[in-house]
Symmetry: C2
Subunit: 132 residues, 2 copies
DNA sequence: GTTCGTGCAAACGGTTTGCAACAAT
DNA sequence: ATTGTTGCAAACCGTTTGCACGAAC
């Protein structure tokens, strides 16, 4: 809790009650929730929380570098609180998104990539989760 | 033209004038247009074409396996007519999406991936296009 | 008291859908 | 005749925005 206040302050974010509640949730889940899903969840412990505040707050967190937007679901952006680089696996049946540790996959450039200044990359996999 | 009619028929699609016009466009561009962009372009040669028909047709093409939906742009789905597997590079400045040949990048699994039945994957890169 | 954050409702933009007119078999 | 396709408009849904109220420095 105290750490979270500190964490927000370090990123230049004024730690209001709403922002704390949202931050607590998004950093405690290992899922990849949409803004509306965050709203639904946090509302249960913070009933007055408005949808607009959730959207604004999540965008603020992204701008300040606390979390990342990911294009992994159709129709909605999802947010990813894991700060270290990783890959993603999407279960085509459930739509669930799994983090794949960075070191599980080796990506090597073999062909010509001149003219492309790659700042960031990730492997996006799709398929079926067999167990779990 | 004749080939396109044939192509559609082979995929179980009745080749109407609208569908032909949309197919001609999407298979001739190397870009990754959104449905609205397809509409704008094809409308110039087919003014009566409605937006709904474009959306319906593109979805039909996806269902029948002619083209692919890609989650590479925020706010809209883009369509990809290239049937062979490839990776993508997104210019963060312009938003332009570039195809990267499959053999340019080697992806090797190093870690544990049990439980994940990977049916499909691609590398998504972001950065700046330096020349063109 | 000025700046910043919140909540509400309205607006917005991409996409889907219901429906009537129409074309194809 | 039946089935499938088109165009229009309305509906839908995720997201942003304008604005008034309220809290914090």
């Amino acid at each position: 809790m105290k750490d979270m206040i500190q964490h927000l302050r370090e990123h230049g974010i004024l730690p209001t009650a709403q922002r704390l509640a949202i931050a607590e949730f998004i950093f405690s889940t290992d899922g990849h929730p949409s803004a509306d899903e965050v709203w639904e969840k946090v509302k249960s412990t913070f009933p007055t929380l408005s949808r607009a505040t959730v959207y604004n707050t999540l965008n603020l967190f992204v701008d300040k570098g606390l979390i990342k937007r990911q294009l992994l679901r159709e129709g909605t952006v999802v947010f990813d609180a894991v700060s270290t680089a990783h890959h993603h696996f999407i279960d085509e049946e459930s739509g669930r998104i799994y983090d794949i540790p960075w070191d599980n996959i080796e990506v090597k450039v073999k062909g010509e990539m001149t003219g492309f200044d790659v700042r960031d990359y990730q492997v996006v996999m799709r398929g079926r989760r067999k167990q779990d």
